[in-house]
Symmetry: C2
Subunit: 375 residues, 2 copies
Amino acid sequence: MIRTALTDLLGVEHPIVGFNRSPAVVTEVSRAGGFGVLAAVSYTAEELDAQLTWIEEQLDGRPYGVDLLVPEKTADAGADREDLVAALRAQLPAEHLAFVDDLLDRYGIPRLPVDPGRDAIAAGMSRRGAEAQLDAVFAHRPALVANALGTAPPHLVERAHDAGMAVAALVGTRRHAERQLAAGVDVLVAQGTEAGGHTGTIATTVLTPEIVGVAGDRPVLAAGGIASGDQMAAALALGAAGVWCGSVWLSSVEDVAPESVKRKFLAAGSGDTVRSPARTGKPARQLRSAYHDAWSAPGAPAPLPMPLQPLLTLQAWSSIDAAADAGNPGATELQSFFVGQVVGAFTELRGAGEITREMARGCERRIAALAGLVR
Amino acid sequence: MIRTALTDLLGVEHPIVGFNRSPAVVTEVSRAGGFGVLAAVSYTAEELDAQLTWIEEQLDGRPYGVDLLVPEKTADAGADREDLVAALRAQLPAEHLAFVDDLLDRYGIPRLPVDPGRDAIAAGMSRRGAEAQLDAVFAHRPALVANALGTAPPHLVERAHDAGMAVAALVGTRRHAERQLAAGVDVLVAQGTEAGGHTGTIATTVLTPEIVGVAGDRPVLAAGGIASGDQMAAALALGAAGVWCGSVWLSSVEDVAPESVKRKFLAAGSGDTVRSPARTGKPARQLRSAYHDAWSAPGAPAPLPMPLQPLLTLQAWSSIDAAADAGNPGATELQSFFVGQVVGAFTELRGAGEITREMARGCERRIAALAGLVR
């Protein structure tokens, strides 16, 4: 067992946080002695409520967390909540709608019927939209609430602390960290550029000690480039109190990603990702596909700000995923998902609990090996 | 003391390689128990010969190495060696010459007289030009010869092995590593994207274990993001047999960089670098300055291939450095040099020997601390 400020804070066995949108990954990580964190951004407020209920039933008191995306700056409509999707939809330029339509045509993607839930998820990536998710979270008992983008709003920190929950925040620069600390955040997640999802330009090797240097006694987790016990030991060597892993669970059997995208992940190399705003409107690392090449080709429109870009593209992604699962070759070329550079190390699908336990064991083995180098 | 396959191979005390263009950094690192490696690319063949003679006099048998840049693909002229500079100069487009001239004018940089030695250095960054450097190297007794870019030519590996020297190569992808191993290289340096100089896109946390996985029994060094004992311990945790450090010596008193650029380094943050082809013609990480912004502005010409871009700009860099040292504010805005993201951690200038010893001690302290986490 590895004891750090994080295992003390959360009351877990291993300083391994498993961030994923799949409820069964969250429960398997927590059951294996890690700390599962559900990505709320993939759900409407109603779905989130149901998922958290299920997770708590499974975990029977074991701790888990929730990760929200409450962005600081978004293209929010000045409308009330009932009109939010319509007001946002009215902001989508005709050029962008035509570009996405043409892209699907060129790759021969049959369209699924429009799913209002996908629009609601996109709208949730706005400051206003995220408020409904907050209410769903505080109707439950996560041990930790994280904010994935920007400084957590003061009422989030206050509500969480009042409810006895720790607050974490993902940071990509020292300045981010200083603002989060001033906002009262309890745990900083130093997310290196090699990470999947919304990420900055500074690598984990450099960012982690820099954030540790400003965090004082608050635990810092390293994120980005960590999918093995060796990488976990490296993160601890950099001064982290634990690791925040996202990508590795995409190689778990419990992950809800389409089988077709999991196959692409297993085949991908570490150089096959791209940091692009073409999916969410903010730079996020993803598996590079024909989709990103199209958005960066000459003449392509500039991606829209969050949440308009997700609103523009989420329905298209549903169609692409369904077509790829059905073997459509154009869809397979376009298909992508958020993933970090560690995707190059994926060789097989494993259980999320097994991944957790093997990472912890591997970390202990590596620490013992390091000690053996010293004469 | 930390014993690894690298300390065994090179007969050194610490698995720390110090790569730098300053002969006194090389000797101080080797004297402190590390392994100094001279960057030959900064010198003409004649200068290199003189530097290696000086280094060997200082070191009195202690081992050191040389790093060459023998590129695989360059815009070599079809001329013989005496005409190489002239033949290369004839390939510089008028648009590019005018762009550099205008840039210096806009920032008010007085021109130094043209230095033929700078042109010779630029020409040395060609396959033909590098041959003269090879001859200078093999007139001496380095314990290791490294090639910084692309696969080492077979005659380099052969001559080195015949002379009892180990051959190292810097790699940024698994495919690079496989080609280097096939070419008979003895030591692989996995260079992460956070490194200064010519670097790829994959971060050290991901690249190092990937290269270790294909290297078999040949030692792998981690490069990129390593300037402290903690970062060195992280590299060893990733499976490296040691570290190849470049940037950290730019914060040493012995480094020959202009005082003005050292001041910029001390003031810089970890987010202040850029990976750009605007200096050498190949993507290389540097301190970001007005120079890079000018080259990526709309209407700027595309950088030329190596060695034409260095030939185009090396005289300009001499003028910029001299003007910056004299306090010219425009020159200070333009000034830059190769450096990795660790530049954000530089707070003072120290002796290169002290840096080496402190890194080794810090690594041992961190390993002991890691062992203390295991219950």
